[in-house]
Subunit: 683 residues, 2 copies
């Protein structure tokens, strides 16, 4: 409270930077930053705890801009508070290779917590960050030592609220009673199509109350700083519910076109900028001219943040004396490194071990490693018993008042909310103390495509336990049988897709997924039992692709993944009976295989031998590794899985028939290994 | 009202068929059918209007099973009412090539309106069906001639309500005041993970009231048939809001494990079936034994439905006399055939016409054809001005009371709800009188992946106008620039992906999309201007791929799509200056090209010439048509689009450099056209 002209000067400086930044870029969204500058100012200057000199301080408050197109607001704040983001960076807004891209990217820009822009993702990340705080506090805080007690604040707009993902995560946040989460809804009545009354007339406060949230309304977000501050403090005080502040603002406040759609997605015109600056006492002749007193004023809060971290560090030093194991564990987690020797717990198998479904092999891995990887926090989108994602005697992550678990619990009941689960995992990862994995059917990872994409772009380590990975799921039929899914995520950059063939390969999948600090993984797992293969080892499989079965003078190479590798091994015998020699390559992960040296890859796919791929889904992508492809470029079928395999001829005989045709077709041709390429790809 | 023992015998017969069907399949979900049999009985026997002998009668009430795993309920009803679904078909439940697959598939089974199972889709389809009814009524009904006045009923469970897509479509349905939509929420407190209290504790009635729905609660859905009927009638009477009935039921009612998760997804044990049948007076020794009196009872309602259609037909005959044009239009629409000569309105271009963005070319197509295609109903996910999906002077589809449009309006304001939009389009298509298209950025079609997949599986004709289709969108940056998206949907069976290079190809895209009655299409369109190409014609482009630029004795073939085709044409000149001859192939649609005769394809990709593909996104899939690939297997960059193209070398020079490397690399090798294959794919 007690706001002065200096506060308004600061607020108008934020607006000015957004106006000048978008004008310089000749692109971008000035309207939302202009409308939200007052609440941003109050939040950052009076409420939030952060140290611009150390954007990674674990106990900082997290800020998420779910309406990421308003990023000039966030970039301006980061600059004004003294993060490593210069005025020149602001001038480079939306320019190639700047650290101020068109939407906020966490891996690019210091102070950006999560990558937003695709609407609805940020509120999901915020729920994840708040869950991570609750979990970390329950795990590490001790009497007198509040190691983490930060809040998560999230700005969001109508667009975020219309996206279904916001419903998924908000319903779960209410269930989880996340009192550390405060969302500020920019109720500006404007979306790209014009007034929100054309498509969005629901009662937002009532909807959020239905989710179990505390909701406050502030009627004049343009002017009433006291009410904004009071609302934020009221929400901080509500400890057993997430809060939403519905804040009425005017989009493009200060522009001649304030309150209209025209200021949403285009820079202001020069004369509009002039009147805006004159109206607010800013220098109309110089762009990006921040008054020194504004820098000074924000500098005070930055200094207070640095002092707060210093105070926290002293507390943490004492904590480290009292609880050395916990302190060491927390510090280690924040580096992203796993505990030494954890990998010794990975199970290995020999061919005499019995056949097991790879979803079950995944459960065995999780059960064996969870003790040595305390940061591992799992969950499933209401398919726990099918995905086998929960180790025995795990505790659920739940509000203690439910009697169903506690916040230190490491198993999250996400409900049937795949997209929200993906965005929450991104938030859990971003917090820094958790390594999340979660399960659903492979086919329904597609529901979460928007979130998986941002995992890959923002380089976070998440693991999708994607079971029921093919027509091998059988009776559930075509609505549940993935055909295009592997191709989709294989085509997504910086996302590993694993499809292990047996126990050793399943362990290898987890090994690489868990040790790849900047890459998410999808592990595709079978419903049906798979034999333990001769020739599969952890060491082989972590190369992504390897020769499982070698054969002198081979006529053909069969390359396959997951549940079809063993069928290919059987097809070798069928082919032998026809006088044909076949090699078998197992390729659990294309992306990892691609990263191997060319010499190695040529031993797997040598020149001179035609290659045929075998995978009962889209053949797309397999042309890269093979001359001929046996796949399923149609939807599957409902029936017992063995009947479905038979219908589509994914049997030793069906494979042998096509392999023989491949040999015949390529006879007499010079056969180059597809590993040979004319030039390097841009990756 | 006035329910008798016969009603209960009928209800228990439904339960029995679900029990015996899942037992025979040794797979499936008996619990929900057993719990929902009472409401299904009341709805079908007392409320709904349908004629089993003509499942396509346009004015039938629509029934959607959004919790599609409960399909034995729907199959049983269809059988009992005399649809073309025999007792043998029920016995073949979940068997290969039966018409009773594990989840309902509309194209497989008479009486199934839409394909459901993936949770949340059905309620979206139901909203689309209700919107279609409102639009069709507003377009065709006349005083005294209620050509369509049907309701849409939808069963849904907790899983559907947790999925974000249900929020998107329900919020829109409330906004649209769809009084013809009645959803019945099976509140059985059980999901796969156990009791819903572990993840789903929101206040559903309050949430739906917040969306603007009328909500009724029935406390005893197991026994209280009168209250169920009263609730349904109350909802029918509410004309300006969609309605939800929250119905408390017991999952697996009648089983020893009633009310528990154990009856959700597995058949009952033999002894449980025995006690169930004995308890309800059914023959415990014979499976699938429906009492004749139950058939007779349901037969009465079937006969009433046939009579209702007969009465409607007489009314429609008179309507056809009074309004011959309207009647003819409606009849034609129901066949799926377009009006004769509509295609004459498609614009064509010559190279002297100016460069235009293909999103703008798409707008020109829509503007030119909308007059001749009255069934075309468009929309956009809040990006109308960017997608250019609305022709000038279009009327919005809105409740008249909003003053923003009317139900005869042909432009839908979907809001920022891509997934919901996709499911609604599936419902609009399924109604039979509408050909829907809708716009968003290509990158955000991924948000709707679940719905697009079901468009393809259920063989409906929808069109996605997917603008901002590459790094060419420029400043919005990597969060918005698709990399994996084309590969994803190209890999999806029965879904055409178009990426036209200029005006003629844009017209061709629409021509094929609009005339493919059983296939959805995604048309990827540029933000930036594209020149009209020499060699592009409608006739060429509808082949999916064709030789745009031929060159005698060519050293290399360049194959490209969309905005990069003209850059390849420029690269030909660069290569010529280096003494290399290049051909250019334009490939606007791989799926359509694939369907051409081999001889034609070999003229496009002749043997002996190396082929290099050019597309600034994932190279996945291009190996099928080329020996080398120039693409972008990483995320894009934020900046003015020309700078972004330059950064990644998608310039004539960058293409020429790689083309020269391709020529060099393949020199001295026998080069087979990739069109040659050893065997036929399964499609
Ligand atoms: Ca990938
Ligand atoms: Ca396709």
């Amino acid at each position: 409270m007690g706001y002065t002209d200096l506060d308004w000067k600061a607020i108008n400086s934020i607006r000015m930077l957004a106006v000048d930044g978008t004008f310089a870029a000749n692109s971008g969204h000035p309207g939302a930053p202009m409308g939200m500058a007052p609440v941003a100012h109050v939040l950052f200057q009076k409420i939030m705890k952060f140290n611009p000199k150390n954007p990674k301080w674990v106990n900082r408050d997290r800020f998420v801009l779910s309406n990421g197109h308003a990023c000039m607001l966030q970039y301006s704040l980061l600059h004004l508070y003294g993060y490593s983001l210069s005025l020149d960076d602001l001038k480079q807004f939306r320019k190639v290779d700047s650290i101020t891209p068109g939407h906020p990217e966490a891996h690019d820009t210091p102070g950006i917590e999560v990558t937003t822009g695709p609407l609805g993702q940020g509120i999901g990340n915020a729920v994840g960050l708040a869950m991570a705080q609750a979990h970390t506090a329950a795990t590490f805080n001790k009497d007198g030592y509040p190691v983490v007690d930060n809040y998560t604040y999230c700005f969001l707009g109508d667009g975020c609220l219309m996206e279904g993902i916001s419903s998924e995560v908000s319903s779960l946040a209410g269930h989880l009673q996340l009192g550390n989460l405060i969302a500020i809804y920019d109720d500006n009545h404007i979306s790209i199509d014009g007034n929100t009354n054309c498509a969005f007339t629901e009662d937002v406060p009532k909807r959020y109350e239905a989710y179990g949230w505390h909701v406050v309304t502030v009627g004049d977000g343009d002017n009433d700083l006291d009410s904004i501050e009071a609302a934020l403090k009221e929400c901080q005080a509500v400890k057993d519910k997430p809060s939403m502040i519905k804040l009425r603002t005017t989009i493009g406040f200060g522009s001649l076109k304030a309150g209209s759609h025209d200021v949403h997605g285009s820079p202001l015109k020069a004369e509009d900028i002039k009147q805006f600056k004159e109206k607010f006492g800013l220098n109309p002749n110089e762009p990006f001219a921040v008054p020194q007193e504004v820098y000074d004023y924000y500098g005070e809060q930055a200094a207070a943040g640095a002092a707060a971290e210093e105070e926290w560090s002293q507390m943490f030093s004492k904590y480290a004396e009292a609880y050395p194991a916990e302190a060491a564990d927390l510090k280690r987690r924040l580096t992203g490194e796993l505990p030494k020797g954890w990998e010794k717990n990975l199970p290995t198998y020999t061919p005499s071990d019995s056949a097991v479904a790879s979803r079950k092999l995944s459960e065995i891995v999780l059960t064996k490693i969870e003790g040595s990887l305390p940061e591992l926090v799992g969950g499933s989108a209401d398919l726990t018993g099918s995905n086998l994602t929960r180790w025995k005697d795990s505790t659920d992550f739940q509000p203690p008042s439910t009697g169903l678990g506690d916040y230190a619990g490491r198993y999250i009941r996400y409900g049937v909310r795949e997209h929200g689960m993906g965005a929450i995992m991104n938030g859990l990862s971003a917090y820094g103390t958790i390594l999340p994995y979660a399960g659903t059917f492979l086919n329904f990872v597609s529901y979460a495509a928007g979130a998986v994409r941002l995992s890959a772009l923002s380089q976070v380590r998440n693991i999708w336990v994607a079971t029921h990975d093919s027509i091998g799921l059988g009776e559930d039929g075509p609505t549940h049988q993935p055909i295009e899914t592997l191709a989709h995520f294989r085509a997504l950059p910086n996302c590993m897709v694993w499809r292990p063939a047996d126990g050793n390969e399943t362990s290898a999948s987890y090994y690489v997924a868990l040790t790849s600090k900047h890459t998410p993984s999808i592990i595709a797992l079978s419903r049906q039992n798979l034999p333990q293969l001769e020739g599969s080892t952890l060491k082989n499989a972590i190369k992504g692709g390897y020769t499982l079965h070698e054969e002198e003078g081979a006529d053909v190479t069969l390359v396959s993944t997951g549940s079809e590798v063993s069928i290919c091994v059987d097809a070798v015998k069928t082919l032998a009976s026809q006088g044909l020699k076949a090699r078998v390559v197992s390729m659990p992960c294309m992306e990892v295989f691609d990263s191997q040296p060319k010499e190695y890859k040529l031993t797997v796919f040598p020149d001179g031998i035609p290659i045929m791929s075998v995978e009962p889904m889209s053949t797309m992508g397999w042309e890269k590794y093979s001359h001929e492809q046996f796949g399923l470029n149609r939807f599957g079928a409902s029936g017992p899985y063995k009947d479905v395999y038979k219908k589509f001829e994914f049997t030793p005989e069906g494979i042998a028939k096509r392999a023989a045709a491949t040999v015949e077709f390529w006879k007499g041709n010079t056969i180059r290994s597809p590993v040979n390429r004319a030039f390097q790809q841009i990756i």
